[in-house]
Symmetry: C2
Subunit: 340 residues, 2 copies
């Protein structure tokens, strides 16, 4: 099998471009079946690589003079900055210069740019931001985590198919359990969106387990959690905030006084394992599900390891042919509403 | 000052009536300024009290033959079971036989029953379920946590006034920071509801700090978090689930092997303190804000201590004259839409 060629936005993320370069070098050394193409100011990238003694073996650089900033209006940024590292990367993906794209840049811009440049899978109404998050002894896919503030019931049906494909193909979950995030488990719970989506999901060729209350999510109540982008974004950020809050509290316990420090030494290994488990960067980034080619959003605050994990995730996305699987799943359902 | 007379639903909650009786006895012994009136099967309650040697000093029992069950349709249960412990308690509150009502029974039924029987404060459009939840070194009020699946912007304005009153009067927070739960901090973020509510909240006589992202909630980003009942319910239950998940994981660390157990002994005190901090029953129940008299929803799984705390909360609600304060706050704003 030929190597997978992952295009990486060299200037996306709070710690770009250095953390990107370092993550790329880690990925190259970890995954012999991956080649990379990094977009950005090639002269600056080359200089940085030399300064930090980062090898550019199996890494190609591609010139992009501009950078998409978080404060840029993402509905206009692709017209205003056609030469940004994100735009150049997306165009390279579209043109077949690589198999997948990874960016730690602005989420909004990446969603808009991917839909504009790479386009959606035929029939897919909207792309969803779909992070993989820790739960129970495993993890789950949350979709949509913020790409679409409001959603229509048919979008949920497509989310279910896409999420099931991903969790089964990439995460190896047999028959992924799809849950509709709701305020009660009964069929008649929730707002209009949930009430309309429920019967649709029942008639979708996925393992729909019904409504799921938010309290069941962290303990592993489902493998794919379906929500509108507003609710999903609240879930994503609340889990993030709770994790941070609890880790801070634990630190306070273990770093105060001799007894605490001694206790910390005694449980250092399981504590570290636990912290790693809670660290969503371990799972890679958030795929943009519904785009015609694999696009991964790495967290804005990604460190080199997080970029490496996102690159691994992009490779798997390609090798496991998730998009072909989604297309087959879409063919199975008779969509009532044709594509936009 | 005369004693506060709190009416308690003797048959509300998973562990009723025993946990209720025990909680009432604890409250009587802790709070000399509280008298109680318990609704339910008086013969059974009396028998239970005798069996468990629970004193009924300063506790009056009031006959109610039926019980509202969680599975009852709460839009009809007050017609179908007019003699339930919840209905009898709410009627007793309305008739001035007590100053406040505490129930661990069905949330939906309590919201409907309170609005029907006790009525709302004049001008208030909808009652909100408003639990006090742990955050940072303190706590915050979440409203609405599920009484209204959908909300209108004017309701958010009223929530802001009610939440501010409560947090200032009962929790002693000076100038409570009111945050609008949203998917970004910028003014132009969110759905229609948030976009319309933002300027309204700016023109409300509260300390509105703008949009708040969910990740800032657990670390104490605001004192009153405003959301529609769907979003609020997701927040409530996700925090619950995350807390449970993390405590379980910690238990796994501390109860496995000799090193873990030794570590647990070393940090037992701060760990217990932390667990207590995370335990929302410590804060009492969730007030139903907007009802014309104080009504507190105790958690369904309340133990005796949680009932005691909910009773203390009801007493404070009365003594601090929160409802008079809310009425004054409402007078200050010129409501564009008159009461329903």
């Amino acid at each position: 099998m030929a190597n997978v060629r992952v295009i990486v936005d060299g200037y996306g993320g709070d710690h770009a471009p250095l953390a990107v370069l370092q993550g790329c070098a880690m990925a190259i050394s970890e995954y012999p079946d991956v080649d990379l193409l990094i977009t950005g100011d090639t002269a600056a990238l080359q200089k940085l690589a030399t300064e930090h003694q980062i090898s550019l073996e199996r890494i190609e650089l591609m010139q992009a003079a501009e950078v998409v900033k978080v404060e840029d209006d993402y509905s206009r940024v692709f017209k205003e900055k056609p030469d940004s590292s994100m735009a150049v990367g997306l165009k390279a993906l579209k043109e077949g210069r690589g198999d997948a794209f990874v960016s730690g840049g602005s989420t909004g811009a990446l969603v808009v740019g991917s839909s504009l440049i790479v386009k959606r899978i035929p029939g897919i109404k909207r792309a969803a931001l779909a992070p993989i998050m820790p739960a129970g002894d495993s993890c789950f896919m949350l979709m949509d985590a913020g790409a679409n503030v409001t959603c229509r019931p048919e979008m949920f049906q497509q989310f279910a198919i896409m999420g099931s494909s991903y969790m089964s193909k990439i995460m190896g979950v047999a028959n992924p359990r799809v849950g509709l995030v709701n305020i009660g488990t009964e069929e008649n719970k929730g707002g209009e969106l949930q009430l309309e989506a429920y019967p649709l999901l029942q008639n979708t060729p996925v393992n729909f387990i019904g409504n799921i209350e938010a309290r069941e999510i962290p303990t592993g109540g489902c493998d794919v959690a379906i929500a509108d982008g507003f609710t999903g974004n609240v879930i994503l950020k609340l889990e993030e905030g709770m994790g941070k809050y609890l880790i801070e509290h634990l630190k306070g316990i273990f770093y105060s006084g001799i007894a605490g420090k001694l206790a910390a030494v005694l449980v250092l290994k399981p504590l570290k394992k636990f912290k790693k488990k809670m660290d969503y960067t371990e799972y890679g980034g958030a795929p943009l599900m519904g785009i015609a080619q694999p696009v991964i959003k790495a967290h804005g605050s990604s460190n080199p390891k997080a970029f490496m994990n996102a690159i691994r995730q992009a490779r798997n996305f390609v090798q496991q042919e998730v998009i072909a699987d989604i297309r087959a799943g879409l063919d199975k359902i008779n969509l009532e509403h044709p594509a936009e």
